[in-house]
């Protein structure tokens, strides 16, 4: 995958914040995931049309004491892990459609 990455939340999941964790269940196989704060930020911002680098710069770097290059590298790795679980999609191109609203 190139340096350019767009991420999109999967439609085929159930999601709810329970306390300080975001719980995600895949409809594909009923696997349940608990996303920590960083993963939850990424997942909620994954509208398919905002660059991952922009999400990191806007939503992660200001809140964590981390340099932008490390944050982006970690975010890419995390996004790929979430994609492997089927709860997020990654692409070098923007996904079609308009940005989705925030999750409950």
């Amino acid at each position: 995958m190139s340096d350019i990455m767009y991420i999109l939340r999967s439609d085929n999941v159930a999601a709810r914040r329970i306390g300080d964790e975001l719980m995600i269940m895949s409809a594909r196989d009923s696997s349940l995931y608990s996303l920590n704060e960083t993963a939850a930020i990424l997942w909620q911002a994954a509208d398919g049309v905002t660059l991952l680098a922009d999400i990191v710069a806007r939503d992660i770097c200001p809140h964590f004491d981390i340099d932008p290059d490390t944050a982006l590298r970690d975010a890419r790795e995390l996004a790929e892990d979430l994609a492997a679980c089927g709860i997020l999609q990654c692409s070098p191109n923007p996904f079609g459609g308009t940005p989705q609203g925030p999750t409950p």
Binding site: A14, I18, A27, L32, S34
Partner: protein, 361 residues
């Protein structure tokens, strides 16, 4: 400890209603002989009310939403409701008889990302099934609906309620489920009608057949060792003071088509109505719900010192319908007896009870 268990524990600590069953209607195209519902429409919530309720449930933190009835496909706005529920990212489970599901509906259900569909099936034999549902041809339609769902890639589970008429058929239904790539769950208890009428309890299977069902390890799965173990002995007092009887009212509740809120579908103790106050106010502040929440195993009359202790499956709703939510559920005492051959404290008490005859004259 599993993530699911952790989520339940956290929801309990935070007072979150993790699971809600919402019945959209009590109307039904079948007239099952054992059904506990009144099928007349006494003023169901309309589409806007239900969509608004779903918004409230999502805001309250509900994750698992079971959409049931009656027959949910009797509502022409069902897909509008389901689309809204999925937009709100609930994990949605449907309960249906599948009679009205054809290929196009099955594909819509699949596209919505519904977690699973539970289909009521009573027998592998069309005559027996149709005899229970009182709807000629229902077996054929239910099987077709199930096949359409499977072809569309939907996860399906047969719910096989057992009673006198079909108690000997469950092995064949189980085999049919396996052949169709469908899950299988059995329910060996006929419960009273929601209005308290206990007449349908006569349909329950006899004790020997119940015992056979409870000793069938193919039904018990990984619970076999626990369920077939000898009675565990009374719950230790220290534990009994802390142990909750079940999740009803703690992390789960039920909402009827009329907006009435109950601790569980099987626990007809009304704790509020969403047409009169917001769901979250009922969930947090209902005096009746807090009454249910206050019950601990140590409060249960007879049960707290019964030999079946923590292995008992006592249902507080059935106990409530027997007259006391802090009392025993005789149906569950009978199940414990069927599993272990050891009578519960309440069964022993019942068998030694005598009725004095007054001689008048």
């Amino acid at each position: 400890m599993s993530l699911m268990h952790d989520m339940g524990t956290r929801a309990l600590e935070l007072g979150i209603p993790l699971s809600v069953q919402l019945d959209l209607t009590y109307r039904c195209n079948e007239r099952c002989v054992h059904c506990y519902l009144d099928h007349e429409d006494h003023g169901e919530m309309d589409t806007a009310e239900i969509l608004g309720l779903l918004d409230q449930l999502a805001a309250a933190g509900v994750f698992f939403l079971s959409v049931s009835g009656g027959e949910i496909f009797m509502r022409s706005d069902l897909f509008e409701i389901l689309e809204h529920a999925r937009r709100l990212q609930f994990s949605v489970k449907l309960k249906t008889n599948a009679v009205m599901i054809r290929a196009a509906k099955a594909r819509r259900i699949a596209a919505l990302g519904v977690a699973s569909v539970q289909v009521s099936l009573y027998s592998h034999d069309a005559g027996t099934h149709d005899g229970i549902t009182k709807l000629p041809g229902s077996f054929k339609r239910t099987m077709e609906g199930t096949r359409f769902l499977r072809e569309a890639g939907v996860k399906v589970e047969f719910a096989n309620v057992l009673m006198q008429q079909n108690a000997d058929h469950y092995k064949q239904v189980q085999a049919l489920a396996s052949e169709m790539g469908v899950g299988y769950t059995v329910d060996a208890t006929i419960t009273p009608m929601m209005d308290g009428d206990r007449g349908i309890l006569a349909l329950n299977m006899d004790a020997d057949r119940l015992s056979n069902v409870f000793h069938d390890t193919s039904l018990l799965g990984d619970q076999a060792q626990t369920m077939l173990a000898p009675p565990s002995g009374p719950t230790p007092l220290e534990e009994a003071y802390k142990t909750l009887p079940c999740s009803a009212g703690h992390t789960a509740c039920y909402v009827s088509p009329y907006g009435d809120v109950y601790p569980c579908v099987q626990f007809p103790y009304k704790v509020g109505n969403v047409r009169e106050q917001p769901f979250i106010d009922i969930w947090r502040d209902s005096p009746q719900l807090n009454d249910v929440r206050a019950i601990r195993v140590s409060d249960l009359q007879g049960c707290s010192s019964c030999v079946h202790g923590s292995t008992c499956t006592r249902c507080p709703g059935l106990a409530y319908m027997e007259g006391n939510m802090r009392g025993p559920s005789i149906q569950d005492c009978q199940k414990s007896f069927a599993r272990t051959g050891v009578p519960s404290k309440n069964l022993q008490r019942k068998s030694t009870r005598t009725i004095e005859l007054a001689i008048v004259g």
